[in-house]
């Protein structure tokens, strides 16, 4: 009997398996002419939750499936806890996985689903039942233990799937867009629950999503992927505030493209000099990527004459914040984010001045 499932302590109170390190080295995989993984390398430290974020077809799910052993690789290596598991069969890898599609076994109750992995490991029935009960309690579904999947809602099914994945005390927890089939309210709730459970059990987790809000809210680090490659991996704050490439800047959050002139580590933009982020083009005419919240929009007043002039095209109320669309006199259209308190002065047609906060920006080659 494997020692990873036989401890007397509960999974919840005392995690028997602290997180382990994961290392993906130069993973390559093509499907005919389509390159899904183009030399992807990634390291995850023990207990960390890393999200892979990217558009459809960027290779994020292929990477997760390669780690699970469900996807064969053309080349590359997968290390878990320092051991090369590239050639190890999926059922011997000890990964817990929650899928995008509902994946509970329809012929088993919630409890039987959770206990299934333990049953495969020949854990005694009484112990299986106890652990399944604990895990269901952890995901708030202890009262649904006897329900079959078709008696559970989508959110409940994904909670049971999470409990089932955790029941085997996996080396790594793999989440393949587990929230994408759920409605917005349940998704937000379950997102927080998954994060809380992951923190509690301390399992190293790889989470795949195309939803940037989900990735930024849940992950310790977010890796942005494009065309089978990792564009940047960083903490959510760093990724948002210090994107290394135009793709990352534009994929994560909203971005305006503005023309500017770079030189001396900064760029002249909307009447101000703004510092440049590392990786920027550092001289000459550039396109500057600016977040909506970095723009300052005020009604046109003489003391703001150094800023660019324009007119409000539209204002969208979003609760505490508003998005204001402004057309500058040179024809450039910008999206700015302002407080809802200020938006009363920014009705469509209002002449305004637009400036920029002195936060570092990314400048790329080419015209806006």
């Amino acid at each position: 009997m494997p020692d990873d499932v036989t401890g007397a302590g509960t999974l919840v109170e005392a995690p028997a398996r602290p997180g382990v390190a994961v290392r993906l080295v130069e993973l390559r995989r093509s499907f005919g002419p389509v390159v899904a993984l183009d030399g992807l390398s990634l390291e995850i430290v023990p207990g960390e939750l890393v999200a892979l974020l990217g558009p459809s077809g960027c290779g994020k799910t292929t990477a997760l499936r390669a780690l699970a052993g469900l996807q064969e690789l053309d080349s590359g290596q997968v290390f878990v806890d320092g051991r090369d598991i590239t050639r190890v069969s999926a059922h011997r890898r000890g990964m817990g996985m929650v899928f995008q599609a509902y994946s509970l076994f329809p012929n088993m109750t919630a409890r039987e689903n959770v206990a299934y992995g333990l049953r495969l490991r020949r854990v005694p029935a009484a112990q299986r039942r106890k652990r399944a009960g604990e895990l269901l309690d952890l995901v708030g579904l202890a009262s649904h233990a006897g329900h079959y999947p078709d008696q559970l809602s989508g959110g409940q099914q994904q909670r049971v799937a999470l409990a089932r994945a955790l029941a085997i005390q996996p080396k790594v927890l793999l989440l393949d867009e587990p929230l994408s089939a759920l409605d917005a309210k349940v998704r937000a709730q379950l997102r927080d629950e998954i994060r809380a459970v992951q923190r509690e059990v301390g399992t190293t987790t790889l989470f795949v999503t195309h939803d940037q809000e989900e990735a930024l809210a849940m992950a310790d680090r977010v890796g942005v992927m494009s065309a089978g490659r990792l564009q940047q991996i960083a903490s959510p704050v760093e990724l948002y505030e210090r994107p290394r490439t135009a793709f990352v800047a534009e994929f994560v959050g909203l971005t305006n493209r503005l023309a500017g002139t770079a030189g001396g580590g900064s760029v002249q933009l909307l009447g101000a000099r703004v510092p440049l982020l590392p990786g920027s083009v550092e001289s000459g005419p550039v396109t500057v990527l600016v977040r909506p919240e970095s723009l300052l929009v005020t009604p046109a007043e003489p003391d703001a004459a150094e800023r660019a002039a324009g007119r409000v095209l539209a204002a969208t109320f979003l609760g505490a914040l508003c998005r204001v669309r402004v057309r500058l006199d040179d024809g450039t259209v910008l999206l700015a984010q302002v407080s809802s308190v200020d938006v009363t002065q920014l009705a469509p047609g209002t002449p305004v001045r637009v400036g920029v906060r002195p936060a570092p920006v990314l400048a790329i080659a080419g015209s806006a």
Binding site: L70, A90, G96, A101, F105, N107, Q151, Q156
Partner: protein, 261 residues
Amino acid sequence: MRARAAIRWSILVVVGIYLLLPILAMVEFSTRGAGSSRTLAAWRAIGTDADLVSAITVSVELALLTVAGTLLLLVPTMTWVQLRVPRMRRLVEFICLLPLTIPAIVIVVGIAPIYAWVNYLLGDSPLTLTFVYIVLVLPYAYRAIAAGLSGVDIVTLAEAARSLGASWRQVLLRIVIPNIRGGIISAAVISVALVLGEFTIASLLNFNTLQVVINLLGKRDAAVSVAVSVAALVFAFLLLLVLAQVAPRRRGAGMAEVEDA
């Protein structure tokens, strides 16, 4: 609403009469005695005619062997194709449906030389008909199992089971088969019905199965022949009834009734 219910009931009654009338006529014919009297002599003869009892035994054994052979062949193959080589699905489907397009007489002509070898190697037991019957029921069993497989996301379920540590054998036995039980039962029912009703191939290959013996009896004693036919129908009906009880039923509330907690 009331008019619609009346139409529904009318259709049901007409169809019921259409289906039951021939059976009632057969029962009436098989119980006809001398003059206008009634007798169960033909029905009693079913158990006493040695040829008939032997043929019934052979046909039931053939049905069981065919069902077992077909399921053993098809379920793992179709599951494997769906999970591992989905691009082969069209080819497998084409091969499995092929017997549907070939008349039984053509099959017999084609396999007669093969059966000479089968008889030489395995003896001339009528149970060797199992091989050709498996081919015969292949299209129907394939469709039934394919319907079962398409009803569940077998790929995701198998991957979930694999990630939890299940071997391919455990995936098949614990995950796939329980979840396509309806399709498997349908395949079994169709196979049994086909084997119990098959005449052409058995007759031309000179094996005495139930239908062949019924045909021979019909020439000798029509009443017994008809009684056996009715009994076979009743047996098939009872079999369907039993299998319907075994088939999975939807449990509890549907998703529409469940709200997210």
